[in-house]
């Protein structure tokens, strides 16, 4: 545990004083998990609101503005509605897998949040294989989608799920390789260390050209990973209706929905950490106020989130074979060349350091 | 091509066996290929016989802006094939296919246009058999006829021989009656003024 806030310290000491050590640490973990869950559930809802607002601004509309001040409570109301809705499903669905699928998706999304350093001192789980963990976790979600699509006993859902499988397996490579390119500079997989390295300049500056290429590839592949337009083959509204979650309703649908937005946040957060210096302020302008790191981190992440939304509301959707062409004929070869170039740059010490 | 020229060209394709000038129908259809001869020939045929129609086809221009050809159901397919394939007529565009309930008879009206010569013609076919009206399909000549004939089948109950997929297109499978026929009655859904 790496949170050294006054209040967490107090709780930590108190927990260890009233119960045995093992129980106390488990209780502490559960508490932290609960806090993360609560905070990010609400945060995810506001991401949905942000998406709807941003979409509206792209589309000459106003977006939700009736519930609460300027529509701020809109998605909370939606969530309330979804909770109260009846859970419907198909008769011949594989009940166990059908019910399991949404939890797979949402849990894998939330798990990934644990490793992000929001500031220097605010990180739930500083694992030394952070990047590896993120890549691993983010591909578990697709199992949930596959399960959900397959077990709903609906052909549209099945097509959606199969597309998702193909898509995630392919784009996983590019996500991994583009991050690997950056790891060549940092020399560490640990997220906190990666941010430390960037005190000499953000990695996108340090790695200059190959880093920019890696960032572009990461954004494309990351968008594909989260199944968002222009890579929303999985849902493909005009083709498959609702895709893999056709047969889900109420809260189970909400899990899928929320997971999509948390995944988007995760991809943006990885991009922020790997390319834009995480919680570091630009040129160190707020170095004396370490708590502003949260602000910088979220600010940078939201900018990238809005960039992803910009993609979504501008581009048409790819076809499934073009999706694979893009990955295997363009992104992957470029990525491999890019790694070699980056290795050369690191070897020759051509990194730009401020 | 003018209507008159069309009539002179098409008429001799199906000579009337009652008309003593030409006797064998099949032979003329086969020997039809060189149409330069036929146009000359048709003038000779058409003029003298006022009472007996020299052709199995009935031509008329009354009450219509196009040349109308009334054809017997037996000759329909042969005529249509000729109209499409003959280089001078070349009616390659079937722009309207309508079923009509003439009261005693059921019929189909084909509106044809040539995209090369830009002349238009109307072909009509009728049958008095209201119970089981059947015509040959033209869907193998013009692909658009596929759906149009299915529409006629839905609403007039006219069946088409050799149609590739003759089943209800608009109506449900268990629909009774043929809605666009004049004698169709539906007391619930039809508002009659």
């Amino acid at each position: 545990m790496n949170i050294s806030l006054g209040i967490t310290k107090t709780i930590h000491d108190w927990l260890f004083s009233v119960m045995p050590e093992g129980l106390a640490s488990i209780t502490e973990m559960v508490l932290i998990a609960a806090v993360y869950l609560g905070v990010f559930a609400v945060f995810g809802l506001y991401l949905v609101l942000l998406e709807r607002k941003v979409a509206a601004w792209f589309q000459l509309r106003m977006g939700p503005n009736r519930v609460g001040f300027k529509g701020l409570l809109q998605t909370l109301a939606d969530a309330l509605k979804l909770v109260s809705k009846e859970l419907t499903g198909t008769e011949k669905a594989d009940k166990f897998l059908y019910n399991l699928a949404p939890y797979f998706v949402i849990i894998s999304a939330l798990m990934a949040l644990a490793v992000f350093p929001f500031t220097q001192e605010f990180q739930a789980f500083d694992i030394n294989i952070g990047i590896f963990f993120l890549i691993a976790i983010s591909s578990i979600g697709v199992i949930g989608i596959l399960l959900g699509g397959w077990s709903s006993n609906n052909k549209f859902a099945l097509i959606g799920a199969m597309r998702s499988g193909v898509q995630t397996i392919s784009y996983e490579l590019s996500v991994g390789l583009s991050l690997l390119t950056m790891v060549l500079i940092t020399g560490s997989l640990q997220l906190s260390e990666i941010v430390e390295v960037q005190k000499n300049g953000w990695l996108i500056v340090q790695g200059h050209i190959p880093a920019v290429i890696a960032f572009m590839i990461f954004m494309i592949a990351g968008t594909a990973e989260t199944n968002r337009a222009p890579f929303d083959m999985v849902e493909a509204e005009s083709e498959l209706g609702a895709g893999f979650h056709t047969e889900y309703s109420g809260m189970k649908f909400a899990y899928f929905f929320l997971a999509e937005f948390i995944n988007m946040f995760i991809i943006s957060a990885i991009a922020t950490t790997m390319f834009f210096g995480g919680w570091l302020s630009p040129f160190g302008i707020t170095e004396s106020l370490p708590w502003l790191g949260v602000f910088w981190f979220l600010g940078k992440t939201l900018v990238i989130v809005i960039l992803m939304m910009w993609f979504r509301w501008t581009f048409p959707r790819l076809r499934i074979d073009q999706l694979l062409t893009l990955e295997w004929k363009y992104l992957l070869p470029i990525n491999l060349v890019n790694i070699v170039v980056m290795a050369f740059i690191v070897w020759q010490n051509l990194i730009i350091q401020l | 091509m003018t209507n008159e020229a069309l009539q002179n060209l098409i008429g001799p394709w199906f000579p009337n066996p009652d008309d003593d000038k030409v006797s064998d129908v099949v032979e003329t259809i086969e020997s039809e290929e060189d149409s330069d001869l036929s146009s000359n020939k048709s003038e000779d045929i058409a003029k003298p016989s006022e009472i007996v129609n020299p052709s199995l086809l009935e031509f008329s221009e009354e009450e219509s802006q196009f040349l109308n050809i009334l054809v017997q159901p037996e000759q329909l397919h042969a005529l249509m094939t000729q109209l499409k394939s003959n280089q001078e007529t070349n009616f390659d565009y079937l722009y309207c296919l309508s079923g009509v309930d003439w009261g005693a008879e059921l019929g189909i009206v084909y509106h044809l246009e040539s995209t090369t010569h830009r002349h238009r013609i109307v072909v009509k076919v009728k049958t008095a058999d209201r119970e089981n009206p059947t015509f040959d399909t033209v869907s193998n000549i013009w692909k658009t006829a596929d759906f149009h004939e299915r529409e006629v089948f839905d609403f007039f109950g006219v069946k088409f021989n050799n149609h590739p997929n003759l089943k209800y297109l608009f109506l449900t499978e268990d629909w009774e009656g043929y809605p666009l026929r004049k004698d169709y009655v539906d007391e619930i859904n039809m508002v009659i003024k």
Binding site: A56, W57, L60, M62, W310, T314, Y330 | V191, K193
Partner: protein, 158 residues
């Protein structure tokens, strides 16, 4: 080489597309075309010719111009107009004259084709610019256009 020019042209076209939506995004505040109904009810004005519903104008003496000629009823394609009429003896002249009892208009059947208004020889019925036609029960859509106790305006003949 076409491989790289493909990539270049592709990215360029994507950026061009993003510039269009981006421009709209930056002008989102004033570019919005959404109408805030029902908040803008006061300012929302229909055009003069807007076909909202058929009404029969009455003057201050509660007089209308409908002679009961039924031309509108015949012109209507959907049977949305029914006229109940009677012959009434005019006490002054002693002549029998057609007079409407009820001019019934079924808004629920109306397709706003304007044929009745074109057919009316005395301009007794006109379009109202009322656009809020939804009601809680279908029966409210059947309206009697002439007000109770109303009379035919003097001098209106068809």
């Amino acid at each position: 080489m076409s491989y790289f020019s493909n990539i270049y042209n592709g990215i360029k076209s994507l950026l061009t597309g993003m510039s269009v939506t981006g421009k709209v995004f930056l002008n989102a505040r004033k570019g919005t075309i959404t109408q805030q109904y029902p908040e803008n009810r006061e300012t929302l004005k229909m055009f003069d010719r807007f076909r909202g519903e058929v009404v029969m104008p009455h003057d201050e003496d509660n007089e209308h111009r409908c002679t009961g000629c039924q031309k509108c009823e015949i012109a209507c394609p959907n049977g949305s107009i029914e006229i109940i009429w009677d012959r009434v003896v005019n006490p002054e002249t002693g002549k029998k004259k057609k007079e409407i009892d009820q001019h019934i208009y079924h808004l629920g059947l109306c397709t706003m084709c304007s044929l009745c208004i074109e057919a009316c020889p005395t301009d007794a019925i006109v379009w109202a610019q009322n656009y809020e036609n939804s009601v809680y029960d279908r029966s409210f859509l059947t309206k009697v256009l002439n007000q109770p106790g109303s009379k035919l305006m003097d001098g209106v003949e068809d």
